[in-house]
């Protein structure tokens, strides 16, 4: 469904991605592992049009994303949960959700249904719905960021390090959410430093190093033979 073929990318004059090839099929959870700075987040940003793609192709459901403006991706079904969460700090929780809810073709029944669904996943958000986004705790902001992506009713979520900086209890919650989304049929491209979580949630895993993909295997294989993980991640 989402295919990166031999993608090169640049930030300004820095050549940051070299020939990256990744595929995420419909409904799959795919993991992207690697040390800090190898280009995992950059890969997501390149899909979102924030880094300059200078080589290769990115297609989604067969359609080349080349000419698509950054604000068109959500409409195609691609949602992004960035590493820094990027909550609209001065907007309330509800308003944050509305940035995704208030879109073309939305009807009041669907609007409310989506809202209720998201509140069911994250009761704390319902409780804090009129609070400014900036006043939420780190964990709550992460939940809001995921909820915000969910209301777009996406086909795929680009999930960037959702457990970073979270307490262990919250990590477990994130894990459950990833499972739940998977059960709903939403594809996820999961960038993470947390190896056990990734191996548990994902079907296939790509490992990156120095701006390119070095290894590609099923999560089962990687669980069975931990040497590969050791080699690339030193864990």
């Amino acid at each position: 469904m989402l295919v990166l073929e031999n993608v090169d990318a640049h930030y300004g004059k820095s050549h940051v991605l070299h020939g990256v090839s990744i595929e995420v099929r419909a409904g799959e959870v795919v993991g992207l592992l690697g040390r800090n700075g190898v280009g995992k987040t950059t890969t997501l940003k390149t899909i979102m049009g924030m880094a300059r793609r200078t080589g290769g192709r990115i297609t989604f459901e067969g359609r080349d994303l080349h000419g698509v403006p950054p604000h068109g991706l959500a409409g195609l079904g691609i949602a992004w949960v960035p590493e820094e969460r990027r909550i609209f700090r001065l907007l309330t929780v509800l308003e944050n959700l509305r940035t995704g809810l208030d879109r073309a073709g939305m009807t009041p029944p669907r609007h409310n249904a989506l809202l209720e669904k998201v509140y069911a996943y994250f009761p704390i958000l319902k409780e804090r719905r009129n609070q400014a986004g900036g006043t939420l705790s780190g964990g709550e902001q992460q939940m809001l960021a995921i909820a915000r992506a969910m209301v777009l009713e996406p086909k795929i979520i680009l999930l960037d390090e959702p457990t970073e900086g979270l307490m262990p209890r919250m990590v477990g919650q994130i894990q459950e959410i990833v499972h739940a989304l998977h059960r709903e049929g939403v594809a996820i491209l999961l960038v993470e430093q947390n190896v056990p979580l990734t191996l548990d949630a994902a079907g296939r895993v790509y490992i990156m190093e120095k701006g390119t993909v070095r290894h590609h295997a099923s999560a089962a294989e990687l669980r069975a033979d931990q040497r590969v993980i050791h080699e690339y991640l030193g864990v």
Binding site: M48, M50, P69, P70, H71, G72, L73, A74, G75, A79, W80, P82, R86, F88, R89, L90, L91, E95, R98, T99, G100, D102, R103, R148, L152
Partner: protein
């Protein structure tokens, strides 16, 4: 004492008109980092359009509405043709571009309407009595109307669907795009709104002193000052700053000539930039 009361009223009324001008400017700056040099000239053009419509139809309110609509459309066209190509470039290029637009608009107005001063007659006549003083109703009405328009803007931003889009884009353009918000369209819409507010200010201010091609620059300059003093991109701050600065100027006009009173606002600007560059009415950033 009488002088002080009158000047206070002047300050408040002028402050409200200035607040409307500054709101448009700060909205535009807050969302797209554009210092719109031509803002005052859009005000001027709005006043001329209003004067013309008034001359043809005799209706002040129609003049106000038409001026706002026409200038909003003009603003949108300007943004699309001259400012969109400059997105991503050095922000100073937009100052230069809007400066160029300002020159063109001024001379166009001269060409279209000639050098004589146009009049916009006030829709409301007569004075009202405050103690033993008389103050024109119209000026009070202007302040109230300006306040209503600003309040409408505020409500739109706070509760409207598109208001949320505008606020989200102002805070984080990239994330707004990722959420599917059509940012280029939002930019154009905000520029149009800002222009409409400038035009409204022009029509409201028209009866005060007549309409001339050069009336815009003074407003642009004061609006810049107020936007900086109020905190760039801060709507509430610029409104407070407008009233503050206008009051100070009005009081200063008791002592020095009006032409010199404008130095007061300059001094306030300079002091603000030196000691509280984020704005006088903005809480100190942590």
């Amino acid at each position: 004492m009488d002088q002080i009361i009158i000047q206070t009223l002047h300050g408040l009324v002028n402050g409200m008109v200035l607040a409307m001008v500054a709101s448009g400017l700060t909205l535009i700056f807050g969302i797209m980092d554009i210092v719109n040099f031509a803002h005052g000239d859009l005000l001027m053009l709005g006043a001329f359009v209003g004067a013309s419509v008034l001359g043809v139809t005799g209706s002040y309110w129609l003049a106000l509405v038409v001026a706002m609509v026409v200038i909003a459309i003009l603003g949108a066209l300007l943004q699309i043709t001259t400012l969109r190509p400059l997105i991503g470039r050095d922000p100073l290029t937009t100052i230069l571009a809007t400066f160029g637009v300002s020159l063109v608009i001024q001379k166009y107005a001269l060409w279209q309407w000639g050098p004589s001063v146009r009049q916009i007659s006030a829709p409301v006549r007569g004075d009202f009595n405050l103690f033993h003083l008389q103050y024109p109703w119209y000026r009070i009405a202007t302040a109230v109307l300006a306040g209503l328009i600003i309040a409408a803007l505020w409500l739109f931003l706070k509760y409207g669907k598109y208001g949320i889009w505008i606020r989200a884009t102002t805070q984080d353009r990239v994330m707004a795009q990722a959420m599917g918000i059509p940012v280029p369209l939002v930019y154009t819409a905000v520029f149009a709104i800002g222009s409409a507010m400038a035009a409204a200010s022009g029509v409201l201010f028209g009866p005060f002193a007549g309409v001339t091609q050069t009336m815009g620059f003074d407003f642009t300059l004061r609006a810049f000052i107020v936007v900086v003093v109020g905190g760039m991109g801060n709507l509430g701050g610029s409104i407070l700053a407008s009233i503050f600065v206008s009051l100070l100027e009005s009081y200063a006009a008791i002592i020095v000539s009006p032409a010199q009173a404008v130095i007061v606002s300059f001094v306030v600007l300079v002091l603000t930039m030196l000691f509280r560059p984020t704005g006088l009415f903005v809480p100190t950033p942590k």
